[in-house]
Amino acid sequence: MSIPNDIEITDELVAEHGLKPDEYERILDLIGRTPTLTELGIFSAMWNEHCSYKSSKKWLRTLPTTGDRVILGPGENAGVIDIGDGQAAIFKMESHNHPSFIEPYQGAATGVGGILRDVFTMGARPIAAMNALRFGSPDHPKTRHLVSGVVAGIGGYGNSFGVPTVGGEVNFHPRYNGNILVNAFALGLADADKIFLSEAKGVGLPVVYLGAKTGRDGIHGASMASQEFADDSEEKRPTVQVGDPFTEKCLLEACLELMASGAVIAIQDMGAAGLTCSAVEMGAKGSLGIDLDLDQVPCREDAMSAYEMMLSESQERMLMVLNPELEQEAEAIFTKWGLDFAIVGKTTDTLRFRIFFQGDKVADLPIKELGDEAPEYDRPWVAPPEPPALTHADVPPPNDIADALLTLIGSPDLCSRRWIWEQYDHLIQSNTAQIPGGDAAVLRVEGAPHKGLAVCADVTPRYVEADPFEGGKQAVAEVWRNLTCVGAEPVAITDNLNFGNPERPEIMGTLVRAIQGIGEACGALNFPVVSGNVSLYNETNGEAILPTPAIAGVGLLPDLSKMATLAFKQAEDAIMLISAAEPAGHLGQSLYLREILGREEGPPPPVDLDGERKTGDFVRGLITDGKVSAVHDISDGGLAVCLAEMAMASGLGAAISLELAQSPDHAALFGEDQGVYIVTSTAALSDEILEAARNEDLFACRIGTTGGTELTFGTGVSISVESLKERHQHWLPAYMAGKLAI
């Protein structure tokens, strides 16, 4: 049924569009009259939090976004970095949280589809995907259904599209019971001189609609993502889009052919707020007006109104400004791939966004103001209180260290993710040099056979909750460290900031402090932010998620033959610990505290950024020089879990003797100190490595030797690698099969 365009704009209608009374006043001031319904929809789409970043913009501006290798920072569809040899890597991470909670399969699938389009709309062939997922407590009745649907949706889309899904992370916590997080990352490869942008150029040029037809799905999706959930969230199912990876694969190939033909002047995918957002963005960036004739828009359903067409979030669509001389060639490419190609408008010099439908002008708005004049808020915020310190005396040792390690390694947040990543095709394209399960995944770069790109995604939400500034720092540092662990030079990050309702000062304070922490770490580690996404209002009935600024990073490996992995390589290798200072055994906010003692307390481990950089550069040098055989870092679960992971990946055991002075056994074993690397080398090389580290003023000591089938700590604790593996592999498949009593 068509919605008439001349219906009265009431206060209720304005509110239903997510616009505040003062925002509506601003619209009236801007256009000098009452908007039409279509215009109101357009404002609602452009000015919601998801599209306008109105609460976060002020703070996002403070992030470092430039660097030697940065070709394009935030502002385009994705960030672009220079990876040498005339090649560029293009990447971004984006959330699809709200839709994935309502309809997990399609929500997650279209999240993957959207981020892939962001990358190939710039001219890049996607070469890797990752995802950062947060689910509610395992015993919450919806969690299993959501895990199952999200994983199937990610796999269903990425596998069919043909991109290897190579990494990510998964956490479970009751604070995600009402709002799960699905953050999807994509990385693409392009020639550095063939990057395509959304900025329209030239007056009177055809604006072309490409790809799939427009339906009624996803109307108001972006507005939904800008509101909290209440108990009626199920009713929002119709706002979730439906994905078609087959069409997306055809669209990729058609777009790349089209770009190679020289027909593309500007191109923009239709993501959130579909036709509206893409047209406004192209016009506003190019300081041009856009006229659209909606009668030409390919529709999948009958009798769609202008309002519906402008707000539909149907997937697998693109908008471009065409070089008119190549219209026939361009159309032939799309016909070959069985996709729609329709001239739906033209660029103008009016700076107006005008929409015509069935002989009427249904919208006539100032195009730059739609984007630039979006409200921007300096929302009130309060810094969260610092958590009280936790001393070693506050944290009792476990009854049995072996039991504690087995419990940790088999816990929901630390157990093997194999059940998930085996549902993702992580090998397609033949370039996966390091599969999921390591510190970072590594992809060979086509066209430069020795070069690799490393990717990983990290954040520790419980740290951010306890201290957003340190937690923000830690997320960036951990990404930097994980890239270093495989031997890569960390280049740049994309950030996906997931928080609650920014209208609450304590939530806003967490967001501000986390961004400040991220900025500080990016600056100190020369690790700029080149793209990102903000997802706010992740709340249900007033309860917010844990603050989750997910960070994904890309690193460059000049020589793939030097790549490091975390598995022990051979018996009798020396195991060494290297860090800026002797680890203090930090147990605040540790998984030991939570999983063994049932407490979530204390400050998170502090990150010494200078030390981080010095230690990481040193370890990367060892890898490049071929001196170390295995490399891993201490993170969740501490040293014991780190060593267990190295043992499980290889099947080889190790004998560990701890002579760390500062902490009692359980703190040394389970403390989550930052910036600490565990490396192995032949016994012959170990003295040289330790001496070199000490010459750099680093803390370095030998802590053990590889070999055997047991992981032993001192003389009293011995655990077989087999039993570690069994525990590590058990939880997730058993949970998903419904075979666990929770």
Binding site: A152, N159, S160, D244, E422, Q423, L427, S430
Partner: protein, 220 residues
């Protein structure tokens, strides 16, 4: 050995296959677009993996009935060698160039992991460089690889030694009957398999177990 790779919309492992064929035969394969009705003069036609037509009706069903497949069926009857991998195997089964059916994996999920394969038949163009009984590691990546054939057909396949690859060491990833991973037609010139040997041919892939299959094509 001149080879060609068939491209249907939605096929997505064509680049992997073309790289492996070029490395193995020393000649870059040509591509055949699905609307073509005249085949190039080649010794081997390969249908690679992917999701032709999105796998929307039934894996391989739409591609199996496309114009180019009618030509490929004719070529196969003439004795041109045909290899189908994953979706390519599903398409060959749909055309009945190969017997049986490929059903949804028994555990109902897509699976990407390394399996162990035993080479059961070395009389085919694809396995002539192997020894009977050789075992290799090879990845799979599919949602519908659960091979099935009627008892009668199965007996015939086994009696005639037409099972080419079998999952061994308890690594059957999909519930395939008799652990069947790949089969050959009676004429001996059409081979189909679910695993992806093109993804295990060099050190970067962790192992190069499947390299001999491609290397052997040069002489086949």
């Amino acid at each position: 050995m001149k080879s060609a790779v068939v491209l249907f919309p939605g096929i997505n492992r064509e680049r992997d296959m073309m790289k492996a064929l070029e490395a193995g035969t020393g000649v870059a394969p040509v591509s055949i677009w699905h609307t073509e009705t005249e085949l190039p003069d080649v010794d081997l036609i390969v249908i690679p993996g992917g999701f032709s037509y999105g796998d929307y009706l039934r894996c391989g069903a739409i591609a199996g009935r496309s114009p180019v497949m009618a030509e490929i069926i004719r070529a196969a009857k003439r004795g041109v060698k045909v290899l189908g991998v994953c979706n390519g195997f599903q398409i060959l089964v749909e055309t009945e160039l190969l017997p049986g059916a490929l059903m949804r994996n028994a555990h109902l999920k897509f699976v990407c992991r390394e399996v162990r394969l035993r080479v059961e038949n070395t009389d085919t163009f694809f396995t002539s460089s192997m020894r009977k009984g050789d075992t290799v590691s090879c990845p799979v990546a599919h949602g519908d690889g659960n091979y099935f054939a009627s008892d009668e057909k199965l007996k015939q396949l086994e009696d005639e030694g037409r099972v080419v690859f079998r999952y061994v060491e308890s690594t059957n990833p999909n519930g395939a009957v008799n652990d069947i991973a790949g089969v050959v037609n009676r004429q001996g010139n059409v081979v189909g398999l679910m695993p992806h040997p093109e993804n295990m041919i060099e050190a970067l892939h962790g192992r190069s177990d499947c390299w001999p299959l491609f290397e052997g094509l040069a002489a086949a």
